[in-house]
Every structure is written in C-alpha cells, then in structure tokens.
Symmetry: C2
Subunit: 316 residues, 2 copies
C-alpha cells in the first residue's frame, strides 16, 4: 500500500468533520524563553477522546463499505487508539473489539469500555497482540483498524498539520511525537505540500528509540519491548508505510530522557495550565530541552494527547 497523498489528507479532513474537533493552538512566552525558539502548540489533548487518534480511526471507520460494517471492527492499542476506534465504531453503529494490554492505564481501559467497546486484555510480556487480533478477525470477519500503518489512518493523522498550518502561518519547522509513525508521516506529507521548505522532526523517548535507530540505519529496525513512561510510544518497530515517509521527509528523530518528559509534562501543566500525557509531551520536551538544530525561529509542536491517571500525575 502507498502512503496517502495531500489530497487524501484534505479528503480525510472533510470526512472526519463530524467526529474530530478543530483543536485550538496555544503559545507561552516563558516556554519560548527557555526553549530559545517560538513554539505554537497544537492541543490534541483537547481532542475528542483526549488524543489525535480519533482522526485516523474515524477516517478509516467512516471509509468502511456499508455491507462490511455490520461485522464490526477490531484493533489493538495501548489506549488512545482503542478509545478512538470505540468512539468511531459507536458513531457508525457497529461493534468494536479492542485488544489492550492488561497493564494499560486504568483511565484508558475504562474510557474504552465506556464507549461501548468489547475489551480483550492480554499480557504484553507473554502474548502477541497481533496474533490475538488475527484470531478474532478470523472468527468475526470484522475490519481491522490498524493503529498507524494504513494509508487511511495516516491520512487522518495528517489533518493535524493541515489545521496547524492554517492556524499558525510561516512556521520554520514542525515536530510531533513518534510511536509507530502515523502522526509524523501524515503531518510530514501535509506540511511539505503546504510549505516545501518547512523542516520536519520527530521526537521519541530515548528508551523507545525504534524510529531513531531505523532512521540512522536507513531501514526498519526492531527493538525489545521498551520501558518508558510514554506508554503510547512503546512501539517496537516503525510501520512499513509510515517509515517510508519518515525516512524521506523528516530531517531528524530527536531523543528525550524520561526525566525530560516528566519535566515537560510539569512545565505544560504549571505554565500553560494544560494536562498533556507523557507520550503527548515528548515533542515539547525535545524543544524545551534544546534538542533542535540551530536556526529554527518558530516551530509547531504537536501535543498529541492528554489521557493520564491522576495517581500517575501525582507521583511525578
């Protein structure tokens, strides 16, 4: 399958309008002072379902032919994509089955069930979510909603950049967190079409550096199950389609430590007064802690989600 085109992303923006909100952008003078560059934050933590994932999930679910919809949809996800798929399935009136790790944040498990989805849990260290999903797919003949490596998913995520570059003109650069690469690849395709000279970066936890290593190697590299506070970015390998885009359009993948991620969450909370989950704050952490190359005067920073348990936050 080929990556989506900018036209596919524009079509996705129309398609997902009933489900995805146009999230606001925020700026913060004290962030800019500390970071040494002007940041414009795209607040996907305010998105329906608490993360950008509704964009990709609803673009795919809303594209399923009517005759196949009745068999339901299936996905696997640590949380935000699960909730997004459940919301999209409920919207079109079909059943969602979600394969989730049994140690996913409680808030994410509960929110997914609250959307009417069937949740099948598994042990991350002993079982393969793909294998469980494959078995369920065979049983039900439902449609798989891949969390990142599908043209429709990527096109949905790319609408983040479409909106951001309408809301904030003349940015030198754009940066997003990287898990499987759906958000980064979709945003890169769209941003480069709007402004061919924009510089595109991904940000990854140093402890979950599969895309960084792949980027250095020039091919997809697989890593052991990562342990990071950024629970949404625990992918072990970038997607095939997503990586083909990231490799071509991103300038670099920037790494941040666990401590930098925590500090960024706190900064966004206490200064910008917004709650961003660790996975969602990784790009902001990279900018705040000086990982960018020199010469970038302004940058769009995607805050990709805000789903965090209070207990987890209180222990920061």
């Amino acid at each position: 399958m080929h990556p989506p085109t900018p036209a596919d992303i524009r079509a996705a923006a129309e398609r997902i309008r009933p489900l995805a909100q146009r999230t606001p952008v925020l700026t913060c003078a004290s962030f800019d002072t500390q970071a040494g560059t002007h940041a414009v934050f795209k607040c996907e933590n305010f998105q329906k379902g608490g993360a950008f994932k509704i964009r990709g999930a609803s673009n795919l679910v809303l594209s399923i032919p009517k005759e196949e919809l009745g068999r339901g949809v299936i996905t696997y996800s640590s949380g935000n994509h699960a909730q997004a798929t459940a919301i999209a399935a409920r919207h079109v009136g079909t059943m969602a089955t979600i394969v989730m790790p049994e140690d996913a944040p409680r808030s994410k498990l509960e929110a997914t069930r609250a959307q009417g989805a069937r949740v099948v849990t598994y042990n991350r260290f002993q079982e393969s979510r793909e294998a469980i999903a494959a078995r369920l797919l065979e049983e039900t003949r439902a449609t798989l909603v891949p969390p990142f490596d599908h043209p429709l998913t990527i096109a949905g995520q790319g609408t983040v950049a479409l909106e951001l570059l309408e809301q904030a003109q003349a940015l030198d650069a754009l940066i997003t967190p990287v898990g499987g690469g759906g958000l980064l690849s979709g945003c890169a395709i769209m941003a480069k079409e709007i402004n061919a000279r924009i510089r595109v970066f991904g940000a990854e936890p140093a402890r979950a550096n599969d895309t960084y290593l792949s980027f250095q190697a020039g091919q997809r590299v697989s890593i052991p199950l990562p342990d990071t506070i950024a629970d949404g970015l625990r992918s072990q390998q970038p997607g095939e389609i997503t990586f083909s885009v990231v490799r071509r359009l991103a300038e670099a993948i920037l790494l941040v430590s666990e401590e930098e991620i925590r500090a960024a969450v706190k900064f966004l909370l206490l200064r910008l007064k917004i709650l961003v989950e660790p996975s969602g704050a990784v790009a902001a952490a990279a900018v705040l802690f000086g990982k960018l190359p020199a010469g970038i005067r302004s940058i769009g920073v995607v805050l990709s989600g805000g789903n965090l348990d209070f207990e987890q936050l209180a222990n920061f």
Copy 2:
C-alpha cells in the same frame, strides 16, 4: 464612588488590550451530562499572570496620571492580584510594592517577585494587611491598587463577561467565583447590559460565605478569617461598591463544599485537560454539583485562575 457603567467596561476593554489576552472558551460534553446543563467555560486560567486579575489591575494602573506614576503602586493580595499588579507596574515602568500573607502559595510569592515587585509579607492571623498598606502608602505616596472595591478594578474584571458573551451567544445564565466581588459585579453589569434577561450567579466556598451571608441579610456582613482551599476567596466581607452591584443584579450566591471544589479541580484537569486552581474552580463546582435552580439550559462559567503548586495538586 459609583460602580462602573457598561461604557466604562467597554473603555476598559480597549485600555487593557496591550496587557490582557482574549482568553479562549471551552466546552465539555461529559461535564454537561453530569451537570445537566450546557456549560461554556471562559478560561481565565490561560490569562497573562494565570488569572483574570490582570484585567482590573491593568485598567487601574493604566489610568494613573503620568505625574503620579513615578511614586509607584501598592497593593495587598493573597496572590493573583499581586502578580497582576506587578505585571502592570512593570509594563508602565513603575515600582510595585505588594503586601502578601507569608503563607501564600509559594508559586504566587515567587511569580510576584519574578515580575520585579517588592514583596512585604505579613502574618494573616496577627496583622492587618490594610494597616501595613496604609503605612507604606503614607511613606511613599504611591497609588493604591485595590484588589476589588474600586470602579476601575471592577470595570476591568467586567471585560471577562464582555468577551464571553461575544464568544458564546444566547446563554441563559452566567456564574463566577466570588471573593471580594470584583469579578462578579463587573461581569453582572456588563452581562445585563448585553442581555437584560440573563441570570447572574455567584459561587462561594461554604467556608468563606461572607457574600452569601451579606446577600441573605441585605447588607454587608463580616465573617472571621475563613479557612478554605480556595485561597483567593478568603475575603472576610464583600466590598462596598461590589456588594451594591451584587445585591442588585445577582440572583443568588451558591455555596460549595471543600470536597466539591477539589472534585471540580480534578474533573477540569482530567476531562477538560486544564489546570484550574481551587478558587478558580468554585463556579464550575457549583454547576457540576447541581446548585443551580432548575430551567437553565446554558451557562457561561468563569474559570478565574490556574495558579497552583504542583505539590498542592498532588495532595488532592
């Protein structure tokens, strides 16, 4: 002195434009479901200085005649008005002296000093802030910037309602937190002029119910030093000017418990993904916990500030 007119509030909106931001409004479907009414949140936690106070303080400071500016400004405040006065003073290039309780939240003391102000601390239980301020005023002949009971302060705070009713049309009602009453009275004057049928409410901690008691009595009542988590609402008596407006234009003062305030802060944090301080969440708490009379289909809810220590939040 007389309360400001709607024209005074519109003039304030023009005057404070260089200093106060037009803050966004947010909505939240799950809040509406739980509250049983549609709430539109005016996010003054995103305001410069982290609270609405910059509006009133800058309206007054920007009105000081040039020949008096050089002698500086003085105020007393538990925090947000202090920081706002410091910001406004720095903007016009004069010195601010701020009388603050020595047990004010550390973040507020530090933020005030960071704005270049001189901070004079006192013991809330043993000393009178008004007496200290009066002595300093005599020594310096500086201009007092009252935290609430002044027509220019009230006019500045009223710009919150002016913006909110432009951003959200056709609201049945409006509710704000009440400390000294500057925000509520300014908003009431403006809202009633825009829509004579709008219903106006104040919300107060049950433990700091000076305006509630005054409202019931039909005259200003004084209470002992209140103990509430809402540190910005620890006034012992409503202002003379503010109460004359509140008595005339507000329909009721609604009381909330400490537990309800904490729960509202958590709800706003985990669902709306925004940080609101306890004082700033009191109006949201009143709506969320069903204190409104029946028949209100939509309400503007002022979230008045977001300055909170991380340690305080973590202990919620």
